[in-house]
């Protein structure tokens, strides 16, 4: 459904997108992951025809967006980074405007009602957009992208500004959309792509550094085990005891105190789950563990991991 080939966008000597190629099949949900300024939005803007590329091509449904923008744009629903909503319109007026500008042929009343229902904005339909909260505005932006039921939907950071309950709702919505739409969404939140996407494309400094099925990336992430543990006991001795455990690579005292407990960061060997050993070691010495949790990797660490993996594969 989407084909991007050798896409380059540079502003002078600064490459925002540097030779990117990937394909997205019909009905796939692809997560576009990367830190801020990685080139996610630029790629999406090119794909939707808002910007042009310096070289390379972007095709949607087999139609080149630069050569035949008119037909290509009909296939796309797009939520930009900032929802493109007019503050002086009511939600209803706005959706009707979008319906007209997209030359939608579906039954107007029925289609728009359906969209208001799935994005849960029906209760604010008569209100001016400028009076809506950020979360509602974001959902109006999402609603806008769904008008006309386009086969390709592109979301640039769809869950920004939503509260946790809304985030879950929007994720469910995206997952449902994936059943009969092709969806690309960008985010810098790792758990979000894990929750929603079939495939993850990781981009950094304008280059694709990984393009994998979600399970594969998750595996890379989970091989690395880090724990944060809270133990009530004398700090130095506890640290020494933790260091003595089999399978421990590093122990670090965070200096955090909570009553009479100290918090330590433990890094374990690959594939070694040492939570049980940790428990017995501490209980032997009568130092109660009052907190133990696995520390998730953040995006930077995932990058480093994936880039390391990438390098070692090349060697």
């Amino acid at each position: 459904m989407i084909e991007i080939t050798n896409l380059v966008k540079n502003y002078g000597s600064k490459f925002a997108v540097d030779d990117i190629s990937f394909r997205v099949g019909k009905g796939e949900i692809v997560g576009f992951l990367g830190p801020n300024g990685a080139g996610k939005s630029t790629t999406m803007n090119i794909l939707t025809g808002y910007l042009s590329s310096t070289s390379g091509e972007a095709k949607v449904g087999g139609i080149d967006i630069l050569e035949n923008p008119y037909e290509a744009k009909k296939l796309i629903g797009f939520l930009p980074e900032q929802p493109p909503v007019y503050p002086d319109m009511t939600v209803d007026e706005y959706l009707n405007f979008v319906y007209e500008i997209k030359q939608c042929k579906l039954n107007r009343e029925k289609h728009l009602t359906e969209i208001r229902m799935v994005t849960k904005i029906d209760d604010v339909r008569k209100r001016l957009i400028k009076n809506l909260s950020k979360g509602y505005r974001q959902r109006v932006g999402i609603a806008q992208a769904l008008v006309g039921n386009p086969p390709v939907i592109i979301f640039d950071e769809p869950t920004v500004g939503l509260d946790p309950k809304q985030i879950i709702e929007i994720r469910n919505l995206i997952r449902n959309l994936g059943q009969n739409h092709t969806v690309i969404l960008s985010t810098h939140i790792l758990s979000e792509v894990q929750a929603v996407c079939d495939r993850i494309v990781i981009i950094n400094e304008g280059k694709i550094i990984a393009d994998e099925k979600t399970e594969n990336i998750t595996r890379v992430v989970e091989e690395n085990r880090k724990y944060s543990v809270k133990v009530c006991g004398p700090q130095r001795e506890v640290q020494a005891a933790l260091n003595g455990l089999a399978g421990v690579v590093a122990v670090e005292a965070t200096g955090e105190r909570d009553g009479d407990s100290y918090t330590f960061q433990i890094e374990a060997e690959k594939g070694n789950d040492l939570r049980k050993a940790l428990f017995y070691a501490m209980s032997e010495r009568n130092w109660p563990i009052i907190g133990l949790e696995a520390v998730g990797m953040n995006l930077e660490e995932v990058f480093i991991k994936i880039m390391d993996a990438d390098l070692s594969r090349k060697r």
Binding site: K73, F78, Q82, P84, E100
Partner: protein
């Protein structure tokens, strides 16, 4: 394109902008009308129209300043540019919306002419010619305003920039009388919107001037389209 036109027209009336324009226009034109015809005891409208050109310099930018600058500032242009609408269509829709507002207001101000029939015998054909010329001049000014609005993110900058260009257009005739060098006079007379209007005040419907006004409009709208096309590549 129709969708954008409708949206623009609605925006004029859901924000104060449209009302401010209509109010300022009717107040200024009413004042100029009273001074130039009733007070001077003449039923000839050409003097009124001549002064109104200078009124347009201040009023037209109110109408056009927001059209693209505001969309750019609020990032709403993204929905326009990622929808199946051509850039030309988008610019024409905004231009026509501004021109409709202007045209309707100018028509409304025609009510002023009625008292003239009571006190004199105005030359209707001549007034009609002048009136059409005024619509054409307004059209040029709107095209300039739309063009300047595509250049900036700030409506205020757009309106001041538009006024600057319009002062140049209208003032060229004045400079023309002060300068001796043939070449400069030639260039100035080429851009002088004002001096081309003079024929209309003599009761001549000047086809050349009409074409000139239409060309100026087309040039500025074309430039606006180019700005948008270029921005995509920048």
């Amino acid at each position: 394109m129709l969708a954008i036109y409708k949206k623009e027209m609605r925006t004029y009336f859901t924000t104060p902008l449209g009302y401010v324009f209509i109010a300022v226009f009717l107040a200024v034109s009413g004042f100029i009308f009273a001074v130039s015809t009733l007070q001077s005891q003449t039923s000839d409208l050409s003097g009124y129209f001549q002064l109104m050109i200078f009124g347009y310099i201040v009023m037209i930018p109110i109408l056009t300043m927001r059209s693209f600058a505001e969309e750019r500032r609020a990032k709403t242009e993204q929905i326009l540019m990622t929808s199946p609408v051509s850039i030309t269509g988008m610019i024409m829709a905004k231009f026509l919306a501004a021109f409709s507002m202007f045209g309707v207001t100018v028509l409304a101000s025609c009510l002023y002419y009625l008292p003239l029939f009571k006190y004199g015998e105005p030359n209707v054909a001549k007034a009609a010619g002048c009136f059409i010329a005024m619509l054409l001049i307004g059209m040029c000014f709107i095209a300039v305003g739309i063009f300047v609005s595509t250049l900036t993110e700030s409506p205020v900058t757009a309106s001041i920039g538009t006024m600057g260009i319009l002062v140049g257009f209208a003032g060229a005739a004045i400079f023309n009388n002060l300068i001796d060098t043939y070449l400069i006079r030639y260039v100035l007379s080429w851009i002088s919107i004002y001096s081309r209007y003079i024929n209309f005040t003599y009761g001549i419907f000047d086809i050349a001037a009409t074409l000139y006004y239409l060309s100026i409009t087309a040039i500025f709208l074309f430039l606006a389209v180019r700005v948008y096309e270029r921005r995509r590549y920048a």
